[in-house]
Amino acid sequence: MKRLKRALVIDDNTTNLMVLKELIEMIGVPQVIAETNPVYALNILKKTPVDCVLIDQNMPQMSGLELYSELKQVMPSIPATFMVSAIDDSELREKARAIGMVGFISKPFRYEIIERMLRDLDERL
């Protein structure tokens, strides 16, 4: 990756969080921060600049959309954010796009798909 140096991944499911972190690292992002707690993730984002965020939609504390809305309120500028969701329907995709997210990654995610999305983003950064 040329510019995409640091990514933040948020998912309550620790296994899948780790799998996604490793896949993104394999794709070529040097630093991937993984966080299960959306509230902590918020704090991390306030302190640490990241190039890209991937948020799981289905979390018990706060949904992905809610977290992103929170982010928009507390941060002057938000890094490019992808939604990750096991439920893939057009309604949800539409909501994510409307709120300002740049992409949608459906679960189960595949290396090639994530790789193309991140490379596209890298080129646009």
Binding site: M26, R110, Y111, R116
Partner: protein
Amino acid sequence: MDRNRSLSQSLWQAFRRYALLPMIMVELALITIYVVTNQWVTQQTKQELVETALSESTQIAKRQATVVDAQLASVQDQLALYRESIAAVLDDPRITWQGHEAWTQGANGQSFTQEALGKDGIAAFYSSLTPLPQQNLDRIEQLHLLTPVMRQMVAEDSWVQQVYFNTHDSLNVIYPFIDVGSQYAADVNIPKFNFFYLADKKHNPERKPVWTPVYLDPAGQGWMLSVIAPVYKDDSLVGVAGADVTIEKLVNYLTHTRVPWDGFVVLASQSGKILALSERAQQRLDITVPKSVAVKHAKQDEIGYQSAALSDIKGAEHLLSLWQHDHDSLEAIALGGMSYIAAWHPVAETDWQVLVLVEEEKLLARTNSIYRQTELLSLILLAGLVIFYLLYFQFVKSRTYRFSQRLNRNLKKLSDALAQTGRQEFELTIPDLEAPELNRLALQITQVAEQLRSNLFSLRKNEARLRFALESSGESLITQSIEHNRVEVTDNFEEISQRPERVFNLDEYSSWIHPDDREKVKALRLHAQRTKRPLSADYRLQRKDGSYVWVQSRGQVLEDEASGQALIIGTLTDISERKAIEQNLRAAKDAANEANRAKSKLLSSITHEIKTPLTTILGIADILRFKLADVGQRDSIRRLISAAEHLNHLVDDILTLSKLESKSLTVTIEQVVPQFLIAETIDWFSETLETSKIQVQCELLPNAIELKADPIRFKQVLTNLLSNAIKYSPKHSKVKVIEAQTEEVYTITVKDEGWGIPPLYRARLFEAFNRFGREQTSVEGTGVGLAICRELMRLMGGEVSYQPLEQGSAFTISFPMR
């Protein structure tokens, strides 16, 4: 025409306006012409009469004036002769005083005749002013000789009363005899009397006989006038001869002159003093002319005397002024307030005027009476006409009245017949009417009644049929009148509501409607009234026992033509059974929907629950795919990935199918680039393809196009088609994905080189759970893929189709280009 006016009034008015009025106008015009003509003729006649009267009067005036003239002239001639005789005998020396017994001396020195000198002789008087010795008695004797001349002058038919001779020495000889001794004063100065002065040189230089003005005779003879002539001897005036004419005779003559039209003659002096006027005329003119005045010592030397004058008569001034200018004329004048025709003529020798007056009224009496008669005749004519018209009007009015009575009588029979029809008594017997037209009308009414009866019969039949149909169906007829707050129902209503009445108050009826339904029913009713459209309402109606029954009310708003009110007429049906079934069905449906929702929810959560471990499996497998160096292990990983992918697709398909079945699947159409979606889909199959050694070849359009579709569903369709193609293709074969575009349609075709589909199954290719005999084969699948493809394509506005190939199959999805 005034609609409130009765027939007879209208007829009468028309007759009055168009027949009687013009007739009266014409008649009036004729009468007017008659009256005017009559008046004109009368006027003409009057004028003619007046002219005739004037000329006649003139004639009379002229004639009478001439007669008077002639008489006076004759007197004057006789006097002239007497004068000559006196001149001849006076102072004739041959004739001397003979002495007479009658001659005596008075006590005061006067001498006079006591008796007439001789039979029917003269009287003589010598005033004491001439003393006895100077008295020339010869002269008496000389004058006595002339007695026959004097006698002739005072003849029977003569107007002359007295003839006399007076000398300047106060001798008076007079004929016929009068008692001069007692009548004259002893010292009477004779030349001072009897107009002696008129004869002197100063007053009468020509020595002609002259007429005196009229005077009142001192001897009691009444009004007189005299003619006197001087007698000269040797150019000296010795005396005056005179003749007295009493006017009485003249007046008698003139007043007895017959004047037509009851007119009369007036003799008047130029200055207006009236000399002669008949008694009748005096009365008529309201003036008195004295006949005689008993004045013994009248002053005979005074010319002026008081007499009746014309100027005393009102309106005479005009006549007098005319006399001054016009001595002989005629005029219509007004005297004493009456109209006269006046003609006058002067009398020669005197200043007299003979005036003939004819009363215009009398002159025109005849004409006026004729005119009055004609007028009376006109009036009688008019009155007759008026009476005739009144009678005629009355007659016509009574005829009109009778005619309209007759018509009314007949019309009443007809209207009775119509009223009978109205009471539905159709057996009409209209009695014979008084005109053929009316009889024809009666016949028509009878026929119409017959027609009505037959119509009513079929109407009743239909009504009975309808009622029967209604009753057997259990429906009640219901008629609602909102204006009258009234509801009418039929027999079946009792079965529905347990209420035996047939008529209710609308408010009462509305109170039986379930409170939850009441507003709805009211709104529907108003809506139907406003729009005039059919009405249908289901509501609960309270029965007598308090329980509710479901009814359906259907109706139509009708305008009652007679009263103009809106009625809602319709049926009321007991639908409680149907409602019960409906409620059961609804409950069942709600339960089913609930179950479906639960199933969808379950499936949704299962999906999530399955996808989470699948994510772990595929994620770790992907990591391992790159990390494992051993070929055998990598191959195992690929099989793992392939199986997991299959499981993933399966879960997606089941979820989709479930949504399709519950009709809860929605597609979100957005702008997509099909080439990206194709690449993404093929990516999913990378492990499977590597395992099966099948090659996927893409033949894409040189320029990527955009199109409207749901990207998830698009990929799902393509995944299914590719999955099938790969599944049913032998190893090392090729699968082609071909993109194509025309003006109308965009297509993606997936071709395989597999076994193809037998013709038997092609028709039911896109039905769910249909694997066409592959159920027992090793090829995994649920048989829902193509069915899902067809539904998803339909939802996106496109379609999917199948074309058999020589070797293998071709599935094409197409989108119309918009």
